[in-house]
């Protein structure tokens, strides 16, 4: 077991860190304040291959590994939670399922432009009446000739209005089990923006990641060509869950970066801020708080990197991903809260980055499976 990054991963980290400092950090506060999607940044990330890091080269990607992708999300999140989740949702939740379940034609048509960053991706599972409880889902697709006709809505969709290609999970069949209970079966579809019958509902006004485009998607007799069904009919739920296993590593990396970024900002602040004639860094309370914060994030980093390694080497990595997300998200919430506390009154103002980081950290405990769902996944696997 080797805890040292090799030279190529070190160089990749240096690249992401430099890009984040020069191109992302200067905009973080402004886009949060204005709730404006950082389109220009996404175009720069496209130019440098950040939108297809772990996708093989034959499908337009960079041919790197999950660890490299994780470090990209982490370094972006150190300076901007919004920018990091744009990459994460696009890569983990849209590119990955097409890579894993798509036909060769689907990969050529949809994955290649996604991995090149020419198109932006999104993933739509959650509905107003169905989040954690998937059986409550109402959005359905009915077979009609050469098409599937999609009706219903999806909510809280990241990259919502900005994306070009959406993976939409819908009910396609209802079966009865041995006891006569009805069970919905799901299938996944690739839906392109501009398809007639596909429109957007309200934009969510959020606490954090405010520049992320979070929208409701509405489908009214939206005809999807049959060849756009992704994966196997009726297996959409399992495919979505496997996709979310990967997505959770991305969100864990986001949480990791938010916590680490908050520590960076706090160390700068406590060295500058003077009380009672000394920098507050000289007080033992400050030192102990920083030590605890750094220890938690270091542990989170090991777990997130281990989950990325599991994704590279194992077919099933649900537990590793759930543990990494659970731990990193709760660590990020705790660490960013402590960062605000160490900033005192300044930390509560929108002048200082830690205020935004604390708001951004909260969502990592909620989306792509709440912390409670992660605990269900972990214990469910351990006690199966």
């Amino acid at each position: 077991m080797d805890f040292t990054l090799d030279k190529k991963h070190e160089m990749a980290r240096a690249l992401f860190a430099e890009f984040a400092q020069n191109e992302v950090k200067p905009l973080a506060q402004e886009i949060d304040e204005a709730e404006s999607f950082p389109r220009a940044t996404v175009e720069k990330m496209q130019k440098y291959g950040f939108m297809g890091i772990a996708i093989p080269k034959e499908y337009g990607g960079q041919g790197c590994d999950p660890l490299t992708y994780v470090m990209c999300v982490e370094e972006l999140a150190k300076v901007c939670g919004t920018t990091s989740v744009i990459v994460s949702a696009h890569s983990s939740l849209c590119c990955d399922p097409i890579l894993n379940y798509g036909t060769e034609e689907q990969k050529q048509k949809f994955l290649v432009p996604l991995a090149k960053g020419e198109k932006l991706g999104a993933f739509a599972l959650t509905e107003p009446g169905a989040g954690t409880d998937a059986q409550g889902a109402q959005c359905k697709a009915v077979e009609d000739g050469d098409s599937w006709v999609l009706n219903g809505s999806k909510c809280f969709i990241t990259n919502g209005k900005e994306a070009d290609i959406y993976i939409v999970i819908a009910v396609t069949d209802v079966v009865e089990d041995k006891r006569g209970r009805k069970k919905k079966l799901f299938s996944a579809f690739i839906v392109e923006k501009g398809t007639p019958g596909f429109s957007f509902g309200a934009k969510e006004k959020k606490m954090g990641i405010r520049a992320s485009s979070t929208y409701e998607l509405i489908f009214e007799d939206c005809r999807i060509p049959k060849e756009n069904m992704l994966g196997v009919r009726g297996k959409g739920f399992a495919e979505a869950m496997h996709t979310l296993d990967g997505g959770r590593i991305g969100i864990a990396a986001q949480a990791l970066g938010l916590g680490e970024g908050a520590i960076d900002r706090t160390i700068e602040f406590v060295k500058e801020r003077k009380q009672f004639g000394r920098a507050i860094a000289a007080f033992q309370n400050t030192q102990f708080q920083i030590a605890d914060m750094a220890t938690r994030m270091q542990a989170a980093q090991y777990m997130v990197y281990a989950a990325a390694d599991a994704k590279k080497n194992k077919r099933v990595f649900s537990v590793e991903a759930a543990e990494a997300k659970l731990f990193a998200a709760e660590a990020a919430m705790d660490v960013t809260t402590k960062a605000v506390q160490l900033h005192g009154g300044y930390g509560y103002t929108r002048e200082y980055d830690v205020e935004r980081m604390m708001r951004d950290a909260k969502i990592t405990e909620i989306y792509e499976g709440t912390s409670e769902v992660q605990r269900m996944v972990i214990s469910g696997n351990l006690m199966a």
Partner: protein, 263 residues
């Protein structure tokens, strides 16, 4: 068309500067970056490669074995090949010994255009590029702020920066151009470029691979320059910030200057 870009791994001044007892830089102990002028030169070469067919960009550096990192970085940006010239006997070289060494390496390969940075941020001499051209009997244009290549006519057009004017110069290849950091905004590496760069071989040459050079012109022994003294910059204190209106500020500054007997 073959372009060779000479690059140098220099100390990242953000990480502090460390010296050997003889006054030369302790490069092994410092964080490093690609010299900014060289990086602009590399970017210019990569743009020429993108705009023309059949252009090959080779990066060459002389340094410690760890200077391999700067070649990998250049390859991750898009350079095709990397050559590292490294040998214990080449250490401690001044500009004369360095340019002799690099010219000796360049005699082994084909080139149409050699690009170097104007100067390195560690030595600030701006001598190595023009000296290489002298050793190889090539025309040289220094301080390039714009480089245009006409591959068919085998010429290079350069906008040369002077203090108060620009010169537009046209020269036949092969030739050498020294680049300014202002030439362009160098691109970032790409993640895939980094992975590819580590899959490629880097050519490593030592003293015995240098062509037509004399031992008396190499390394510390072959360096006419002797460093009398070198030191890090003395760091300034944090200073004092005050928030006063303009009139009070003037009074405050005057009182401070008086207090320190400056006036």
């Amino acid at each position: 068309m073959k372009i060779v870009v000479c690059i140098k791994q220099v100390p990242d001044t953000k990480g502090g500067v460390k010296f050997n007892p003889d006054g030369t830089l302790n490069r092994a102990a410092m964080l490093t970056i690609m010299n900014p002028d060289d990086k602009a030169g590399l970017e210019a070469a990569l743009r020429i490669k993108e705009a023309n067919d059949d252009v090959e960009v080779t990066v060459l550096t002389m340094g410690l074995p760890k200077a391999e990192d700067v070649l990998r970085e250049a390859m991750a940006m898009g350079a095709d090949k990397g050559i590292l010239v490294t040998d214990r006997v080449l250490g401690g070289a001044d500009t004369w010994a360095t340019s002799t060494t690099i010219a000796g390496a360049l005699r082994n390969i084909d080139y149409d255009l050699i690009i170097t940075g104007r100067q390195a941020i560690d030595g600030d001499t701006a001598q190595v590029g023009p000296q290489i051209a002298e050793h190889l009997a090539l025309p040289v244009i220094s301080y390039a702020e714009e480089i245009k290549v006409d591959a068919a006519a085998k010429t290079v057009e350069v906008k040369r920066q002077y203090d108060d004017r620009y010169h537009m110069l046209k020269v036949s290849m092969p030739c050498l151009v020294t680049a300014l950091a202002e030439l362009n905004e160098p691109r970032y590496m790409t993640p895939g470029g980094i992975f590819d760069a580590f899959d490629k071989e880097i050519t490593v040459w030592g003293r015995n691979d240098l062509k037509d050079v004399d031992d008396s012109d190499l390394g510390l022994k072959g360096s006419p320059t002797k460093i009398a003294k070198a030191s890090d910059k003395v760091r300034k204190g944090a200073g004092e910030k005050v928030a006063l209106d303009p009139k009070e500020s003037v009074d405050y500054i005057m009182s401070k200057l008086n207090e320190k007997h400056v006036i």
